[in-house]
């Protein structure tokens, strides 16, 4: 799993990357085209798909490597690493990507993977929380999602006020906003598959996040994507980890139920 920046660049130059996950790509494709719910993957051009399905070419694995490295690194006053408590991530974290956000009784809010990681850092490791969008937090989120790849998304609304938060997210989704006066639904419910100038609109599903966007030349979180969409329609964005985006994330997990976890994915 260890790769260097040089290694990735070199691999990118290889005409034929390892296609060990071609079967996985087929599976995602099948799930995507046979159901009404479709991953952004199924709207992407083949070059982008191939970049995603080949772990060697997939640039987001630079961040997965950062996460894997951090997993075993002791940090904070408690003198612990993630591994000290959770052992082998491939065993203990396999169901995280497909089941988050979950209810957090302490904050009385839904908690996504990023917030869960920082809660562990603050409370159990006595370490400084990582900043949203830092390479460390993106890396750990990507690593944790990567060990659950392929699992169907199923976020439960049974606990706490998850149902009400999902409803709030639904309201957000259908609310027109910004100077362009568009709701998420105008693009992602009414127009998936259609071009908006040079971009092919998708259903705006969340199963691929964090995602390496070629436009960003970097891995980015779901909340970064929300902020980007809000900016595009000239609406004031909300903060990373804000209540509004947590509600939206919770709702979108319902819209994307049963899509396979793809994170970290590659998108245009």
């Amino acid at each position: 799993m260890k790769r260097t920046l040089m290694g990735v660049a070199a691999a990118g130059l290889m005409a034929f990357g390892l296609s060990a996950t071609a079967a996985e790509m087929k599976a995602i494709d099948k799930a995507s085209t046979t159901s009404a719910v479709r991953s952004g993957f199924s709207y992407a051009i083949s070059e982008t798909r191939e970049m995603q399905t080949d772990d060697i070419q997939n640039p987001s694995f630079l961040w997965v490597d950062i996460g894997e490295e951090q997993w075993g690194t002791v940090d904070g006053e408690a003198g612990k690493s993630c591994e000290s408590c959770h052992g082998n991530a491939a065993d203990t974290m396999a169901n995280v990507g497909s089941t988050y956000p979950v209810w957090d009784p302490a904050t009385k809010k839904p908690m996504n993977v990023e917030l869960r990681i920082n809660k562990c850092r603050a409370e159990n490791m006595k370490a400084k929380p990582w900043k949203y969008e830092s390479d460390e937090l993106l890396g750990m989120t990507a690593y944790i999602k990567s060990v659950g790849r392929g699992k169907p998304i199923h976020v439960s609304l049974k606990d706490g006020d998850m149902e009400a938060w999902s409803k709030k997210g639904e309201q957000f989704y259908y609310q027109r906003r910004g100077l362009l006066d568009l709701s998420c639904a105008h693009c992602h419910e009414q127009n998936p598959g259609n071009l908006i100038r040079a971009e092919t609109l998708s259903q705006g599903q969340t199963n691929g996040f964090p995602t390496y966007r070629l436009k960003w030349q970097k891995l980015g979180s779901l909340h970064r994507r929300f902020r980007g969409c809000n900016n595009n329609i000239r609406a004031e964005p909300y903060a990373y980890g804000s209540d509004e985006y947590l509600a939206l994330e919770t709702y979108l997990a319902q819209r994307g139920a049963n899509l396979p976890v793809e994170g970290p994915s590659v998108r245009k």
Binding site: D181, H186, C187, L195, R197, L201, A235
Partner: protein
């Protein structure tokens, strides 16, 4: 028709007049919507060449984001969200086109098309865009003038 609002305080004061509904917002040119709906009188004099540029410009009309316009073959990317705009100049009157651009929600409340000359009724507009319309009255008329030149049959 260049009557500016003297009611600075409130936005979007609609006055019922015998001839139609006058729409007046602080800082915007007043206009009248007649049954149909349509805005028959121009806000100011338009120029089709400038209109064409505004239609392409991503910071202005960016109409190509949603519409394919065959008369603009030199632009590589045309959107598919709205209908192809090829012959609107022969199908629609200036008033209908003006209504469509100024505030298409009057025609179809559910439409994805933005209201290009409207300030009120918007939610969470980004700070740097507050109090601004997407197009100025001049730009609206320029785009209307350009749309009126679209009469179909383009070789490209």
């Amino acid at each position: 028709m260049k009557v500016r609002s003297i009611f600075g305080a409130a936005l979007g004061i609609a006055l019922m007049a015998a001839a139609g509904t006058q729409v007046q917002a602080a800082g915007l040119v007043k206009y009248t919507v007649v049954e149909h709906p349509s805005i028959p009188e121009s806000l100011t004099k338009g120029d089709p060449v400038r209109g064409r540029a505004a239609v392409i410009n991503r910071q202005k009309g960016n109409c190509l984001a949603c519409h394919s316009i065959p008369e603009i073959p030199e632009e590589q990317f045309h959107g598919e969200v709205g209908p192809v705009l090829d012959d609107v100049g022969s199908r629609m009157s200036a008033g209908e086109i003006r209504m469509r651009i100024v505030d298409p929600k009057v025609i179809n409340p559910e439409t994805a098309m933005p209201s290009f000359y409207k300030l009120e009724g918007l939610h969470r507009v980004a700070k740097k865009w507050q109090g601004k319309t997407i197009l100025s009255a001049q730009e609206v008329e320029d785009v209307v003038a350009y749309m009126l030149t679209l009469k179909g049959s383009y070789s490209n």
